[in-house]
Subunit: 208 residues, 4 copies
DNA sequence: AATGAATGAGGATTCATTCAT
DNA sequence: TATGAATGAATCCTCATTCAT
């Protein structure tokens, strides 16, 4: 008895189970369509348990969103840490993006879906992959490796294309693994974005 | 116009008001988050009126989706009717796409959002703009105007970029009107997609 | 046009169709479970039509109940008109009862069901077969043909047995036609009820 | 008793209150005519409480029906346990039947009414008094104590008569307590059913 | 912390009845 | 009379949240 209490104290709580369960359900059905009962059942916990850790279902969703988004961005940041050259960096972020999407499909689904709809109001104050893309693009334009376009337009161009692939895979329009589309996709993007004027563009790797 | 109103009155139906109200609410909040009471209030109708015309809120949403998607595609199809040359055709569909998005922002929002989430299960059996894009791309590849990529990948590339723009505008990342981004965007897309090998690409307009 | 109006005037109304449709639905599902829309659909009439002829669904049901009950009783009365001898009379009423139940199964069902539940409050002021049974029994006791039991008890005994048969047929417990059970049933009833004391019973027909 | 209450409190359940309230309302007005709000009000519980214990009002009604029917049959079975002789057994079951009807008038009403209408679809798969009657009759016929009639016909005869009494009492046609009618009713039934040929029938009590 | 019964506001849907045509 | 769209109260059911244990 003592031991059990001690163990519970040590191992702490059902927080992780609840987080995991909620994430998956939110990813599959959306926050609104997921009931607290659903979460509790999946986490093998009583309904009330959720309220020990979060004030409401909404807060749980918001925590999941912000933390996972931060983590997603961090994964991508880690991949370009120390790498120079815009093309290479784009390649690496995109690779990291799809690695994440494939390793954590539920997290990925949840983040994308929630960004667009149910939790979109959180985006402005959330650290997110988009910020990273915009930075890389801006630096690429400044360095002359990229064509002179409005950075947000270029970001929309890149991110739109990148995020559409998993959608099409889920719809069954694309059959192969996401990884297999990276190279051709990068080519499409790069041909669109690369600078074509005189010098700057010729040796991008010198710059970085 | 007069006549239409008259007819509607004569046929004695609040159907159009309900459709209009529901569409706007669905676009703003999603189907699930919109209550029948919301719709009734906005349409200035009793709640029960909805059930004379549709069996449920869901059926109303489904009709709105399918009919508007059909209309959306038709608008785009009309714009390329008789036009040859892949670049021109892409330009015109994209133009039609944004014209639609700007003239019917509620319809556009609803279609995009519902496609991705609440009504995505309808997509396979729905006639949609995506079908048109895939066709144009396929023909462009066959005619040698476009690089040899998997058509669905190219479609994801184009559609991803195109649909991201309105998202970014809504987020406030892009400030100008959608129209103003068409030309630079087309350039990005075209540079990515155009064929670069010997001849075929040089005179694409000859082909069409 | 003139003719149509004239015809409608002449043929009058949709009253009979509505009555027929309502009766069948009430018999099958009960009054409460039958909607005005159900009735209108079955009668091939608009919902509002019902309110031309009755103030409410309830009034329609009440009219159906009282009129049919009266008719039911009249059918049975006609069968014993002029016949003497309690046993014979019982035989004939029971025969008439089952003839009615088989020729007008919907009317029968409706009357039985409504008597017991939804319209039971009408029974006291309604002319009904029960009244007839009680009369026959009373006369049979007075004439000495029947055992001296409380007439209502004897009536419950007879009516209970009689009405149970169609129930059991519907449940599939009894397989043959109702008609085929009349004679054995009458024997059971008669053996139970007939007077056993010396004289009275011997010449019942003298009395009547 | 104390313990039971304690347990109920501890297990923290309003299940019994809801069952009790629902039963009474169903008995009085029928399942359909009883609203969930009615039940909740009578049970002094919020409407939602019902749904913790049953999936729907229908399921609650079905449980009440099956459980009470089982109990009803068990009460009657207990009364003939170990008793021999068909007449005695019939007497005892009928006695038990009316004892039940008088001690648990609500349960009785509900069972009869629901059997005939709203829940009649459950009867085939429900253990019910009818099964017991059929068994006793069959054994009575086999032993030669009863006339050779189709057992279901005899069952209809007995059950019809028995169940009609409470109806007539409620209608005010019979004034005394049900108990007081048992003996005369048994006589009516027995005279109808008893074997009249040769020996076997003469001393039924020798058999048991 | 955990449990799970209870709460009750709110949501979707039904349906008798009304009423303009 | 007939029509059928509209009404809106009433109904069943859901679900986030609370709370006694």
């Amino acid at each position: 008895m003592e031991e059990v209490l001690y163990k519970e104290k040590r191992l702490g709580t059902r927080r992780p189970e609840i987080l995991r369960a909620a994430l998956e359900l939110f990813a599959r059905k959306g926050v609104r369509a997921t009931t607290v009962k659903d979460i509790a059942r999946k986490a093998r916990v009583a309904e009330g348990a959720l309220y020990r850790h979060w004030k409401s279902k909404k807060e749980l969703a918001e925590e999941l969103f912000c933390e996972n988004m931060k983590h997603f961005k961090a994964c991508m940041e880690a991949e370009i840490e120390g790498f120079k050259g815009t093309k290479l960096r784009v390649k690496r972020v995109v690779g990291a993006f799809y690695t994440f999407a494939e390793k954590e499909p539920m997290v990925y689904r949840f983040l994308i879906q929630a960004s667009l709809y149910e939790l979109s109001y959180l985006l402005p104050r959330t650290s997110k992959p988009l910020d990273l893309f915009v930075r890389i693009i801006q630096e690429g334009i400044e360095s002359g490796e990229l064509k002179k376009v409005e950075p947000p337009l270029a970001a929309a161009f890149i991110i739109g294309a990148i995020t559409k692939l998993p959608d099409f895979r889920e719809m069954g329009i694309l059959k192969k693994e996401l990884k297999d589309y990276i190279d051709p996709l990068i080519e499409l993007l790069w041909e669109g974005l690369k600078a074509r004027n005189g010098l700057g563009k010729t040796f991008p790797s010198w710059k970085g």
